[in-house]
Symmetry: C2
């Protein structure tokens, strides 16, 4: 049965991998289902009962990715790509050839598609590579994004996009000039619990949003590259605090206009000679929404957000983990009425589902010439706000 092309991963439509069949074929939701409509069907049990007759298997174009940097997040991304119908790992870029060879075997990447950082530019002639996934230390994002663009490859770059605003602007310019797409890997934009929170707010269920609290942090081990400002460009703010910063923006749909911040280093154990240990900051948005945020590399914080509206609230905790996300919300139909409608949803999806959705989205953008939902400009905005937050805390950037 012929099916329309896969254009399902725009802002408003369901992710197709949700209905993938076990035999690694895949099934497609007709274009007429928006994400919200589909959620309604799901809530009524219709999706499970009537979905099979609506769907069928087909074959799919696969965007080939070169993975640049083979650390922990690259491993998860590659596993996510394995679950993606429209994406494939086709090349590896690493300083450790042995490691690359082992991973190449796992993903069916030919030895000829393994590159070092030095010979990376020869990737220009590799026809199996449509795009690169940049999972390097932050200070190397700009260089490899620009080199990839020059090689004619689309770029999916991890967050933080780079280490300062100037680098972000150069990356955007390079991709524009090379006519390649640039997407920043803000996985929460493609994650169903976060999208559900956004939907609840946009639907008006919470009434006028007034305030948000959000934090994300952890106790970082000594010796990690993240603790070296030359590589990371900053401390927990650029690494995990950026999730909270970005969340305040997608939750409100607004851009912050005022910033205040305090940072500190408490533990004098050699970890925090170049980056902050703790950072607590506040932002104000044009509507008057205020946000209280925090991040740390010195304690167990997890990641959460709480949204407070005139008619109800949302508590997502954990909100930013790879899986196990939990959404708790309560709201009423009228302002003043005690919030009585309860949403309490544990997201059963397992890591690497967010990375699959992200790969699905970018591959779909490439294949159908669509603008990614989180383009370079999204990363640039966060970087400009990070600059403001660090400035308020008295911290200079590289």
């Amino acid at each position: 049965m012929p099916l329309p092309p896969l254009k399902l991963l725009s802002n408003r439509h369901v992710t197709v991998d949700f209905h993938r069949t076990r035999d690694r074929g895949f099934i497609v939701v007709p274009m007429t289902f928006t994400r919200r409509e589909f959620a309604k069907l799901g809530a009524l049990g219709f999706a499970a009962r009537f979905a099979p007759p609506l769907f069928a298997q087909t074959t799919q174009r696969q965007t080939g990715y070169a993975i640049i940097g083979l650390g922990r997040i690259a491993d998860i991304f590659m596993r996510g790509v394995k679950d993606s119908p429209n994406s494939k790992v086709t090349a590896l870029v690493s300083g450790h050839r042995d490691k690359a060879l082992r991973i190449a075997a796992d993903y069916g990447v030919p030895e000829s598609s393994i590159y070092s950082y030095d010979d990376f530019d020869s990737i220009v002639s590799n026809k199996t590579v449509d795009a690169v996934y940049v999972a390097l230390p932050n200070s190397m994002h700009a260089d490899f994004t620009i080199r990839a663009a020059k090689a004619g490859k689309h770029v999916l770059c991890e967050k933080p996009m780079a280490i300062n605003v100037g680098e972000c602007e150069s990356m955007i310019a390079a991709c524009k000039s090379a006519s390649v797409k640039l997407m920043i890997a803000y996985r929460c934009h493609y994650e169903s619990t976060n999208l559900k929170a956004v939907d609840l707010i946009r639907s008006g269920a919470l009434g006028q949003v007034q305030a948000i609290e959000t934090a994300f942090g952890f106790n970082e081990r000594a010796g990690e590259w993240r603790l070296d400002k030359k590589l990371s460009g900053g401390g927990p703010l650029v690494d995990v605090g950026i999730y909270s910063l970005n969340a305040t923006r997608y939750l409100t749909g607004e851009e912050p206009v005022s910033f205040s911040a305090f940072s500190s280093v408490i533990d004098q154990d050699g970890r925090f000679t170049s980056v902050e240990e703790n950072l607590s900051w506040t932002m104000k948005f044009p509507s008057g929404v205020v946000a209280s945020c925090a991040t740390t590399y010195g304690g167990w914080m997890g990641g959460f957000f709480k949204v407070h509206g005139a008619k109800g609230w949302i508590d997502a905790d954990p909100a930013f983990n790879y899986d196990g996300l939990h959404l708790h919300a309560q709201y009423s139909t009228d302002v003043g009425e005690f919030p009585h409608t309860v949403v309490d949803e544990a997201n059963p999806q397992k890591n690497p589902y967010q990375f699959t959705a992200q790969a699905n989205h970018f591959s779909n953008c490439i294949q159908n010439n669509l603008e990614p939902k989180t383009p370079g400009e999204e990363g640039l905005r966060d970087m400009s706000y990070i600059t403001e937050i660090y400035r308020a805390a008295g911290i200079s950037m590289l």
Copy 2:
């Protein structure tokens, strides 16, 4: 069986009302039990098994309270006093004599002990009144505290202590000069879930505390006196945000030294002509601990605190309600180890248990000439920090 006097409500000892018997007699825990020791016994099941032989009933001196202002919180306080072994409602002060007469009947207060605001000063000759409980709009706290002190009565005053630092200083001076005790009704200092959180932190279970998030707010109805700055002295910050402010101090055991804040009025519905609707603020403590806080009169926020340490975390939510408090904590024995010891405690005690513990404490201080755990100086400190927070937000105080 004769028992030592009831001196159990100091910082380190168990609250006696926890073991009150049903017949409204009461039982006393011997002085050798600290709160922590008793908790350990409880955890081992010893308290339940061996407590009866250790305890016995006795009679108790009762401190007589005049209740000034008969609103909602006064009602709860009086119910709390009813459950207190060492406290009693002996007089009422109100602008509504009918209401006062009804309540007097409930509490066995003679008609001769009902006062208006105008004839309040004649309370000096009422020997049944040892202390007053000031539950008036904030702008009247200073006046009635000073008048009560002049009448030789001890003063338990609701928070916020007053509407500015100068008033707080005058109240402290008046009580000192009259040799009466002054306590501010910070009920969470006498509440077992909050005390448990403090204990966990002081015990070192969380390791070095790095950051705190806390918020408390609600959607205030039009027409309430709290929305009139002349009566309240401020918006949600002085009313409920003060719980978060105070919590950061008792949780850390430190005094904040730096403040930043943003405030806003979003709803143009006539409620926020004189006080802020939302306020989001950040504080830094001498150790480097940072705190992110928020309050609102425009949305459903509830009240919570989260404490993040090197070895674990605490999430108290709700933390500031009258009952139903919930403490969730997780910590490990070593820094770096994933927090594996789980505390998940729903506090079964029912409103007005916090008000009982508070009355117990102040009456005990009066009867045994002890300094209250939350004296006027505690209220003054919060008022000085509120001044700093408002200054940072560009809000002037009365």
